[in-house]
Structures are given as C-alpha cells and as structure tokens.
C-alpha cells in the first residue's frame, strides 16, 4: 500500500485516496468539431506507461483535493507530487524525455 504525500494534508496511506488515471488529458475545446476518432482518443486512449507515469489522485477521505503525481509504474516509486494545472517538475520531464530518446 502506497504512502502518498497529499500536497495539502501530508503523507497518508493509499486507502485514503482515489486514483484518477492519466494526468494532463485536457478536454477538447469544441468536441463537436472533432472526428469520431479524435473523440475516441480523448475518451479512451491512455498512455499506460511502463516507467514514469503522470497521473492524478484525489484525497477522497481527506481534503478532497485533486493533484498530480509522477510515479514509476514499474517500481511504484513516487517521484513527484504537484498541483492541478501545473506541469511536472523539470527533472521528471527530463526523465520522460530521456526515456523517449533511448
């Protein structure tokens, strides 16, 4: 069971949180202008990265706030926690890019 550092309440066990799946999927501005395939991409297609995964969590049993988290899905290591609306810290972006290059 993970120990998750809620950016507002501090460290709590995973059971207090709900998982919100992949982060940074913005809802399209004008859905009506999208093709079915583009809409399906938004609705269903997910990164599911093996390695550094950017995801969302919500502190359900605590402050009820949503936040982002970078976690290695292979090792379950939590690499960073950052607020909604923020981009992942630079070192995380580098990790992801580094991975892309390799």
């Amino acid at each position: 069971m993970f120990l998750i550092n809620c950016p507002f309440c501090g460290e709590r066990e995973e059971k207090e949180f709900s998982y919100g799946h992949e982060a940074h999927i913005a809802r399209p501005e004008n859905p009506e202008n999208l093709s079915d395939a583009e809409w399906a991409d938004y609705l269903f297609m997910r990164k599911n990265t093996k390695g550094v995964h950017l995801e969302r969590w919500v502190h359900t049993a605590g402050c009820r706030r949503w936040f982002n988290m970078a976690r290695n899905t292979h090792t379950n290591e939590v690499l960073a926690v950052y607020l909604m609306g923020e981009q992942p810290p630079k070192e995380i972006r580098d990790m992801i890019d580094g991975k892309k290059k390799s």
Binding site: E14, A40, M45, R46, R71, N76
Partner: protein, 416 residues
C-alpha cells in the same frame, strides 16, 4: 512426439523415466517466419497451435520474453465459465469452453479441466435482477445456466454462510454447471508441446523490443536475440500491450493494473464448486491439491510491478470470512500478483491494427484464462485470413471510435 498415456508412463517407469522427450524444443530463432506471435502466454500459444492445426501455417515462432506461461496465464485463479451477458461475449466464451472440453485429448496433455460448476452470488435486489437477466440471456444463447435460491446454493456449498441477517446476505446465485477450473500451467505447457509438435518454434527469453514497419506494413520484429523477419505479427502480451502499441505507433484504450491472487495451506476437500461474489469482492475454489485459491479485484492504480497492495487482500479476506466463517482459522500460504490489461468496456480486443499485418489480442483484463483456446482460435483465423472471424468481429479496436462497445461491467460483476 511421444504420446502421453498410461502405457507410455508405465513403459518409461521401467527406465526410471530417463527417456522422456522434451515437451517442447528450445530452438534458436530462424531469420524469418510466416507468422511471429509475441507473447508466450496461453493465448499466444493457442494462437500458434490453431494457426498450425486449423490453417496449416507452421512456420511460426512464439517469442516470449521470460518463461512461457509466466504472465497472467501462470498466475490466474483458473476460473472457467461462459455465462456472459451480451451475445458477442457469450458466443466467444462459449466457443472457448467447448474447445476446453476437448482440449486434453486434442493436445494429448491433461489440462485437468474440472467442470465442477461456478456460482456467481447475488447480494442485493439489484444483483438478483442482473443475475437473472444474465441467466435468461445465457439460456437463450444455448448456454447452460440456472438461477439458484439460497436453499439450492446450500446443497452445492454446505459451508457457505446463508444467514439472512449478515451485512450482505446471499440472496441467490447464477450457476453454470459446465464452468469450473483447469490447471493453468498445463494449458500453457500442453499447448506449447502440441504446437511444437506441429513445427512451431517456441523461443523463450526473447523479448520483442521493436517492430519493423515499412510503408505501413509489418516486416519483422526487433528482439533481444536479434532481428526476426515476419510476414505477419500477432501480439498477445496482456499487460504489456500498450508497451507494444507504443512501439508500433498507435494508441490503445488499455490500462495495466495489478491483480492479486492467493492460496491457503492445503486441506482436505471442503468446497466442491467455484464461488464468486462480485458484490463483496472475493472468489474461492479449492485446487486439486487442496489449497483454497482466492482472489478479488484489481488495485486501482496502473502498475507493472506484478505486486499489489495488502489492503486489497485485507478487504478480500474479510469477504471470504463473511461468506465462509469457517475459513477464518485457515491460513494464507502465498500471495502474488499479475499485470492485467483492462479495457474500458471490460471486453477484449482481438483485432487488426493500423499497421498492415500486425494484429493485437489483448484487453482480457481479469478474465481471459477461460478464453484461452477460443481466443487463440479466432486470433489464428484473424491472422491467417487477415480478417476477423465472425466470433471476434465485434471485438475490434474500431469499436472505441464508433461506439459499438460490449460493456460487460454492469451485468458480469467481477469478470473472472
């Protein structure tokens, strides 16, 4: 291939079992195959087997990054049933169950199919309604199934707690008598042996690390053991399918989650059917060796760690103890996890892809062991003919675009 039988066993006993052949060879990869199957789980092996058997395509390699059957095939709770709600699913899983029923003889390897019957319990009025709906649908699809009252359940599972005052009392159940379990490893090994006998190369410790795609058409795969050319490639890697689709350059509607299972210490027979409860989240059967084989639901988060969290098990075991208070004093002997590939509509994808000659079979999530032969059978057809069989036509990747989903969440409870 030496035929397995009581006679060959006796004959070999004379020679201290020194003369048994290898169940399958461990050849080096050839430079080129007609078909490369990526993933040596049950589904990949079944695909290779039926390619050879049904379609005469024998220049086939199964590439497995670890040991064959070491993925979800080797870690599932082995529940087999075909009583799914929607026609598309029911037909596919029923095909699979029928293939299972003849598989031991077909592949000459005893997979220990045990059709002891599967119960899916209902604990609320809503459950009852959904369960009956599924049973009615099953019947009209020609699938065996009944709805049982608590009294009828008691006859099948005398030890279950039917006290109507418990938190979530058992109000009824569906029962599929032909459902049951099979020895998971034997399914993988038997299919490997039978495929090998038909000329399929089974290559373990060979990880696919990339695809060779030329003008939208597949030409081969990159592996940890070098490049292998292939006219067609079928990918059957369960939890790793998006790792593969990333390599091929298209997106999938799949997430990989830990799913845990566990066994108790071995005891004398005490429960004779498979009992599943979606509502209180547990399922139980007893293996031929005597362990209780137990499972529950997935961990919510994505993970490739092949480990899950303790709290999932705590909740699940509480449910087991509620339903079977006498298991409270029994002990867990081992727990483990798999990486399951969940699809938004809880149905699999057996499909052509945007890349010519590249086919994907995935999304079985928590419930694909029961589909192993059927999945291989339709996937072999899809690869051989470059078009789906009518049994898997609905399970295409396109359905996420056009909306023809096959949503098995609502009525199937846990999908094992």
């Amino acid at each position: 291939m030496t035929k397995y039988s009581i006679f060959s066993l006796l004959r070999n006993a004379m020679g201290y079992h020194r003369d048994w052949q290898q169940a399958w060879r461990s050849p080096d990869p050839k430079p080129e195959y007609d078909v490369v199957i990526v993933g040596g789980g049950g589904h990949g092996l079944a695909t290779a087997y039926y390619l050879a058997k049904e379609h005469g395509i024998t220049n086939v390699a199964v590439l497995e990054k670890g040991w064959l059957g070491g993925g979800n095939t080797g870690r599932n709770t082995t529940i087999i049933r075909s009583n799914y709600l929607w026609d598309e699913s029911a037909h596919l899983y029923e095909k699979s169950l029928q293939l299972y029923e003849g598989l031991s003889q077909d592949i000459n390897y005893n997979i220990m199919l045990s059709q002891r019957g599967v119960l899916n319990l209902a604990h609320s009025l809503g459950d009852v309604r959904d369960t009956k709906r599924r049973v009615y649908a099953n019947k009209l699809n020609g699938i065996d199934g009944e709805y049982l009252s608590p009294a009828e359940i008691k006859k099948l599972v005398p030890i279950i707690n039917l006290d109507p005052t418990i938190r979530y009392p058992v109000l009824g159940s569906s029962f599929q008598p032909r459902g049951g379990t099979a020895r998971h490893d034997a399914v993988a090994w038997g299919l490997a042996r039978a495929s090998d006998a038909r000329g399929v190369d089974i290559i373990q410790n060979c990880e696919v690390t990339g695809f060779d795609i030329d003008k939208g058409k597949i030409t081969g795969v990159q592996t940890s053991r070098g490049q292998i050319k292939a006219k067609k490639v079928g990918v059957v890697v369960a939890g790793h399918c998006t790792v593969m689709s990333d390599m091929a350059g298209f997106r999938m509607p799949i997430e990989s989650h830990p799913l845990q299972a566990m066994v108790s210490d071995p005891v004398k027979p005490i429960i004779d059917v498979v009992v599943m409860s979606g509502a209180v989240h547990c399922y139980v059967s007893q293996s031929d060796k005597g362990e209780l084989v137990l499972g529950a639901g997935i961990d919510a988060h994505n993970s490739y760690s092949q480990r899950g969290s303790l709290h999932i098990i705590e909740d699940q075991i509480a449910a087991v103890c509620e339903l079977f208070p006498l298991f409270s004093r029994m002990r867990l002997m081992r727990q483990w996890g798999g990486i399951v590939d969940t699809c938004p509509d809880a149905s699999p994808i057996i499909s052509k892809t945007p890349v010519d000659g590249l086919y994907f079979n995935c999304g079985w999530g928590t419930g694909g062991f029961k589909a192993t032969p059927g999945s291989g059978w339709v996937f072999a057809h899809t690869i051989a003919r470059d078009e789906p069989h009518k049994l898997n036509a609905a399970f295409s990747l396109d359905r996420f675009v056009n909306g023809f989903l096959i949503d098995e969440h609502g009525a199937a409870g846990v999908a094992h």
